[in-house]
Amino acid sequence: MIFLQLFFTFFKIGAFTFGGGYAMLPLIQQEVLSHGWMDLEQLVNFVAVSESTPGPLAVNLSTYVGAETGGLPGALCATVGVVLPSFVIILLVAKFYEAFQQNPIVKGCMNGLRPTVVGMIAASLLSVGASAFPASGGMVQWGLAAVLLGGVVLAHWKKVHPILLILGAAVVGICAGYAGLLPGV
């Protein structure tokens, strides 16, 4: 039953993501690829779409995976699934939040979770990198991607808005494509 599967998968993802948006990427990637719901390239494309549309990245990604896999009911199941754990946990915590923040067990777990999330985002950077530099690419394409990446990293560091970065990269892609530099794409 695809809808139950979507709901429980995204419930799990919602319950185990600490730090929002990009921290969710490694989990979504693992689940979506192992279920065969989307391929890596589609997922990475959609990270960019989620970043350029309003709303929380995590919610956008869940809605999209749900819609691609199971239409409107799929989108609903995935979105409700990803939101529900937060909702319940915040309701529980909201009443006692000072005690929660000062709790040594919570603090200790967070001490372990923060670096782990950093390590896991680094891991998903590997696969996102593989989708931008595919093995089938060839020297010209890789070189072009490397130059583009350098430019985008620099612009990102200079605080250019992410949507502008994505639009700029899209324009470069279109120009390179029509100039015949991206044969396999």
Binding site: G55, L165, V171
Partner: protein
């Protein structure tokens, strides 16, 4: 002006719809909007509450934007408030993405779209890299946290280990190390 509970909830819902519809990038980008709409205009919460709310949203699982909305809604109008704020913040994204998923399917085979996404995937590498750097900056580094980060990277990146198991294990290691103050960890 004293609103009834239902009036408050309706206002909360509309405010969070607006916040959801005008926040790009999620979580932190939402804070200034919440501050303007809920704290300054309505005076329902104070600036200092906002910091507490953000701290809790960061240390509980789930999307930061959703956590923040639920928490603010709860502070303003109890459980019903939490529910309407959460639905409000999610609804615009949901509708936009749902509509967009059809549009994307129609055009994903066009050459121009494929070329554009080739470039966009390169940009996503930079965005993920940016997220990595900013999260690494917020993380207190010591022997144990370095080992955990490196361990999670290798296990998930190279051995395809289950992310949830890795998270649970690392939370427990962090808890243990903080308790007994091993390798520079402290509470």
């Amino acid at each position: 002006m004293e609103l009834t509970k239902w009036g408050r909830c309706l206002t909360l819902f509309l405010k969070f719809c607006k916040i959801g519809a005008f926040t790009f990038g999620g979580g932190y980008a939402m804070i200034p909007l919440i501050r303007r709409e809920i704290a300054l205009r309505e005076g329902w919460i104070e600036d200092k509450d906002l910091l507490d709310i953000l701290a809790v949203s960061e240390s509980t699982p789930g999307p930061i934007a959703v956590n923040t909305a639920t928490f603010v809604g709860y502070r303003v109008a109890g459980r019903l408030g939490a529910a309407v704020a959460t639905v409000g913040v999610v609804l615009p994204s949901f509708l936009i993405i749902f509509a967009l998923s059809f549009v994307l399917r129609q055009f994903e085979d066009l050459a121009a779209v494929r070329y554009a996404f080739w470039g966009i995937r390169v940009a996503v590498v930079a965005l993920v890299l940016g997220a990595l750097v900013s999260m690494a900056r917020q993380c207190p580094w010591n022997v144990v946290s370095c080992v955990l980060a490196a361990g999670a990277f290798v296990l998930v990146g190279f051995f395809g280990a289950n992310s949830i198991l890795v998270l649970v294990a690392c939370a427990l290691i962090g808890l243990g190390a903080s308790r007994w103050k091993v390798g520079g960890m402290k509470l």
